[in-house]
Structure formats: structure tokens, C-alpha cells
Amino acid sequence: MPAAARLPKNRSTSLAAFRAVGKTFPNGVAALDGLDFTIRRGEFLSLLGPSGCGKSTALRLLAGLTEPSKGRIVRSAVGAHEIGFVFQEPTLLPWATVAANVRLPLRLKGGVDDEATSRVDDALEMVGLSDFRDAYPRELSGGMKMRVSIARALVTRPQLLLMDEPFAALDEITRFKLNDDLLALWRRLDCTVVFVTHSVFESVYLSTRILMLTPRPGRVAEEFVVKAPEPRIGRFRTSPEYGAQCRRVSAALARVMREG
């Protein structure tokens, strides 16, 4: 998709923030402690860290699906239902067609109906699934299901898109393709993405900024600003700059794991 090589405007304004957030589960496990960072409007922010470091918990807190035990989350710049969420699994309704699944958020929010059809069409077109609107999830491949899941998150035109290791279960070829498509969508929609991953390579390829979390209880250990040519498609993955940054982040991850 040939998109203009532009950076989203107002990159520096804050969209949401964690302020000294701690989260302890009822079973006594402390998932997060002293998590403190700001999400800037228009950025592609990755939360990177080992499994079980509380990345997913941070995302659920940000979505308002659970409440922090300590500290607070500032979300005032994000409207009530202006958050899209893509889960680790496609999480589709198996009894509903692709189009009905994508339409679901609009149905749940309850709104004008005549606009809904065109929005669903737009969302399906964005992920390249216009021809599959009447298919059932069972009939789709893993990658296609994940595209439906992304279309569903985008159908409300969210300001903030939260993604919880969405491509972890996919094969590498599908993952690379979806990485590129996601970047194109992010650029086209001018939204803010918070992306949880445990892959150094994926985070460097996608993000404008990476926050590395410590093992449990998670807090920010290091921050990296990724430098890449815009638009960063295909070639960036094999460039020396990409390799160098991956090396830097990997080394930091090893350090965090050792000290953690």
C-alpha cells in the first residue's frame, strides 16, 4: 500500500499514562509494581518483556478491564469507547459470519445502524477480507481470523489500538505479512498503537518506541526509540540499521533477565 511517508501530528502530546501503577492479584502474585510511562499520541509503542512480566496485565489495565491496586492510569484524552483491543487469539464469535463479527462492537455500543454497514465494509476492505464477509470463522485460516479480529478492533475507528501478542501463534510468513499490513493501517488511520510482544525482532520492526519491562513484578527497565526510514516496509527487515537495533535491544533484554 503506497502511503505518504508522514509522521502523525502532535507526536509529543500525551494520550494516556501510567502513574506508579501496581497490580497484585487476589492470589498474592504481584504482576506490576511502579509501572510509570506515558503513551504519546500517534506513536507505535511496544511493551517488550519475558513471559509473565505483566505486559498483558498492563494492557488490560489500560483498556479498563481491570483496576490497578496502586497508582493510577490517566486516560482522560481517550474517549469512553475509543479503544480497540486485539487479543492473543482471534476471539471471534464462532456462530457469526465475518461481517457480523466485525459489526459486533457497533452493535454492542448501540448507535446509528445505516452507517454500520459501510463501516463494516471499510474495515473488511482495510484488512483485505471483503470477499469473505459471509464466511464463518471455522472456514478461515489462522492469519485470516486474526485479520477479522483486527478489522473488528478498527471498526469503531479507535484512537487507541491495544494489541496483546496478536501474531504470536502465527507462522513466520503470515506474521511478516501481517506486520507490514499493520504498519500500513497504523499510518493510514493515524491512530496510536500499544503492542505487547515478547519478540525483540517484531518490536524493533514495528515500533517507534519500545519499553522493556522487568520480570515480575513488571516496571519499565529501559526505553528505546527506534530509528527507521519511513515507510518501513520489507527492506527495513534486512537492513544493517535494523540488525544493529535488534542487537542493542536483545543485549538489554539479556541484561534485564540477568538482573531481574
Binding site: R60, A63, G64, L65, A80, H81, I83, F85, F87, Q88, E89, T91, L93, P94, W95, A96, L104, P105, R107, L108, K109, Y136, P137, R138, T156
Partner: protein
């Protein structure tokens, strides 16, 4: 019972799947017929298959009325079990306290053998109502427990998704929990269909003298007193056929509802 998902590789294999059991059945019936004839076994000891078939035709006037009575009881009991079971399951799913308070009663009702409850019900209720209640009691539990399990087995991420978009309890119930419970409910329905028939038959036997409009089980008891063994077998055959028909119809309903989306209806190559 044709299995819609069973996909034989050769047409021959499919033909064999139906041909072999049919042949085996015919062979067994032929042996039975021969044994009865060769040994001149009197019909009041063991009637031959042909005689049973003949009785079915000659007694059709009596037997068809009884069949209709038993089928009506079964159908009404199943309908009441569906309504009661589903409503109670939804109540259980939405109010934990109600579930904790009432579920033990449902279990007690289920584990107490119906044949032991029937005489009591026959004292309190009209015979026809008592038979219906007995059939309902046995059919009710699988629908309740399966539907309750289905309503509680919703994917956690989907729940989060509904919460994220501010869906209320009603929307979550109708758009998420009820559809998710559907396969469980249909599984329970298939069990309940057979149980409703069993409940109706057991209660009819317990009720004994039924007088007018008596069901098939009553015919069996009555024919037993008169040593009309061929009619006993004919009535028994009708009960079996009714059970098979109920199972087939409920399986077809399940297949038609689930075939587009559920894993259980998936066609596979190998």
C-alpha cells in the same frame, strides 16, 4: 441412524455401512422365525417375528391410540423440560445465590429413581398429570445441567470484549452466553428426548390401570396379564421405534442448527 459427518472414501463403504447392519438384523430375525417354527414354540412363550408384525397390523387400532398417548406425554414433558430447564439455567447463570440454593434440589430430583417417586405422585395428582410430571422430572435435569454448563463456559476474552464495548447483562446474555450455550443445550436435549420417553413409560407402568387413553407401557402390562405375548412384543417394538425416531429428529435439529459453525459438525477429509 445416518451419520452426516461420516464420510466414507468409497461409495461401496457407505453402502456397506447401511447394508451390513440391515443384513445382520434380517439374518437374526430369520433365525428367530426358523427357531420358533422348527421347535413349534407356542406364541404365548415366544411369538415369531412374522406373528408380531401381524399383531401390529391387526391390533393397530388399539396400539396406534396408545402410541399417540405415549408420544404426546413424551413431547409435552420434553417441551416443559426445555422451558423449565433453560429458564432455570439462565436464572442460575445470572444469580449465583439462586444457583447455590436450588441446584441441590435439582440433583435430589435427578438421583432419586423415578420409579420410586411415581407412586407418590399418583396419590397427589391425576394419573395423566402424574405421568407427565414423571417424564418431565427425568427429562429436565440434562437440559438444566448442560445449559448451565454452556452458559458458564464462555471464552474469557469474549467476555472482556463485551465489557470493553460496554455491553450490559442483557446484551451479553443474548449475544454471547446463549449462543455459546447452544451446542451444550442441544446435547442435553438429545439425552432428554430419550429420557422423557423412558420417564413416560415408567410412570405408565407405575400408574397401572389407566382406563381410557392408556399409553403403550400400559398396553404391555395389560397384555401381560392376558398372556397376549405377541401384542406385548408389538407394543415394545413401537416404543423402540418411537425412541429411535425421537433421537433421529433431535439429532437432525442439532445438525441443522450447528452445521455452519460448530466443530462437531465439521466435515473432514480423513
Amino acid at each position: 441412524m445416518p451419520r452426516p459427518t461420516a464420510n466414507g472414501r468409497h461409495p461401496l463403504e457407505i453402502a456397506l455401512r447401511y447394508l451390513m447392519p440391515a443384513l445382520a438384523l434380517l439374518l437374526a430375525l430369520a433365525l428367530w422365525e426358523l427357531a420358533v417354527r422348527a421347535n413349534s414354540i407356542p406364541p404365548y412363550v415366544l411369538p415369531s417375528p412374522l406373528l408380531i408384525l401381524g399383531t401390529l397390523v391387526s391390533d393397530w387400532e388399539v396400539l396406534s391410540v396408545s402410541l399417540a398417548v405415549t408420544l404426546k406425554t413424551t413431547a409435552l414433558a420434553l417441551l416443559a423440560a426445555v422451558i423449565g430447564g433453560v429458564l432455570l439455567a439462565i436464572l442460575f447463570a445470572s444469580a449465583r445465590l439462586v444457583e447455590l440454593s436450588l441446584f441441590p434440589f435439582a440433583v435430589i430430583l435427578q438421583v432419586t429413581p423415578i420409579i420410586a417417586i411415581a407412586p407418590l405422585l399418583l396419590i397427589y395428582l391425576e394419573p395423566e398429570t402424574a405421568v407427565l410430571v414423571c417424564a418431565w422430572i427425568v427429562a429436565f435435569f440434562p437440559i438444566l445441567s448442560n445449559t448451565a454448563l454452556g452458559l458458564a463456559s464462555v471464552d474469557h476474552n469474549l467476555r472482556d470484549l463485551f465489557a470493553l464495548y460496554g455491553a450490559g447483562r442483557l446484551k451479553t446474555l443474548f449475544l454471547l452466553r446463549i449462543p455459546a450455550a447452544l451446542p451444550y443445550f442441544l446435547g442435553g436435549l438429545r439425552i432428554a428426548g430419550g429420557l422423557a420417553l423412558i420417564g413416560a413409560v415408567v410412570a405408565e407402568i407405575a400408574a397401572g390401570v389407566g382406563g381410557r387413553g392408556s399409553g403403550l407401557a400400559y398396553r404391555i402390562v395389560e397384555s401381560g396379564y392376558r398372556l397376549n405375548v405377541p401384542r406385548m412384543f408389538a407394543a415394545l417394538l413401537l416404543i423402540s421405534l418411537a425412541g429411535i425416531a425421537i433421537f433421529a429428529v433431535l439429532s437432525l435439529i442439532q445438525h441443522l442448527i450447528l452445521r455452519r459453525w460448530h466443530e462437531s459438525a465439521l466435515q473432514r477429509d480423513s
